[in-house]
């Protein structure tokens, strides 16, 4: 399953690989495996990026538990 590949940062919802120790977006170290939905921001002119308040193009989870 794709879900086991990524974990979501509890602080900024960024998705990162399981082996990463700190979040590459915000530097936090608390993660959860219980997330659903994915937003992949490819361009910093994205409308969605402003809507979700993301700081840089990255993969983000929509909901985290």
């Amino acid at each position: 399953m794709a879900k086991s590949v990524f974990k979501a940062c509890k602080n900024c919802k960024a998705l990162t690989l399981q082996e990463d120790a700190v979040c590459p977006v915000c530097g936090s170290s608390s993660f959860t495996d219980d997330w659903e939905g994915m937003i992949i921001i490819l361009n910093d002119q994205s409308e969605i990026m402003q809507l979700i308040g993301a700081k840089k193009p990255w993969r983000y989870a929509i909901n985290i538990k």
């Binding site: 794709a2 879900k3 659903e36 939905g37 994915m38 937003i39 992949i40 921001i41 490819l42 361009n43 002119q45 994205s46 409308e47 969605i48 990026m49 809507l51 979700i52 993969r59 929509i62 909901n63 538990k65």
Partner: protein, 152 residues
């Protein structure tokens, strides 16, 4: 500068492969330097579709051509209001307050009336007192499994 056109296209994909297709589309957009794709949304609770934010249909066609598990682009555009609903789920939260009467919509207590004792917005959970029980019964359930009951 470029024009500020943002359209949302729904791409039909094989059920269960939404995340994989999203990641493959991301790879293709990056390797082929397709700058007019702004974001890719894999919605939860929407099986068989991936939404792409792009400037026009020609870019989407270019992006999806030849990718496995993609079944084509759905007719028409996805309205921005629908995107807002998918992206920010929290809108449903504030409609329930402590002390409100609610109805449970899922789980073993489905269909029962209950009163909200405590609202935990961070965890998206509510502590309920089930009114139809013969003795005081407190349960904690996710906020999306309750709906406000009609006031008499």
């Amino acid at each position: 500068m470029e024009t500020k056109i943002r359209n949302y296209y729904a791409i039909k994909v094989t059920g269960g492969q939404e995340t994989n297709v999203g990641l493959m589309l991301e790879e293709r957009a990056k390797t082929n330097n397709i700058n007019e794709i702004y974001s890719i949304i894999v919605p939860p609770n929407l099986k068989g579709y991936v939404i792409v934010e792009a400037s026009g249909p020609h870019v989407v066609k270019l992006l999806i051509s030849g990718i496995r598990n993609v079944r084509g682009v759905a007719q028409g555009l996805v309205p921005k209001d629908d995107i807002l609903k998918i992206v920010s789920k929290k809108i449903v939260g504030p409609s329930i307050k402590e002390g409100d009467l609610v109805e449970v919509t899922a789980g073993p207590f489905r269909g029962m009336q209950a009163q909200v004792i405590k609202l935990n917005a961070d965890k998206e959970e509510v502590v309920l007192n089930i009114l139809e029980s013969a003795f005081p019964l407190e349960v904690t359930i996710p906020i999306d499994q309750v709906k406000p009951s009609k006031k008499s």
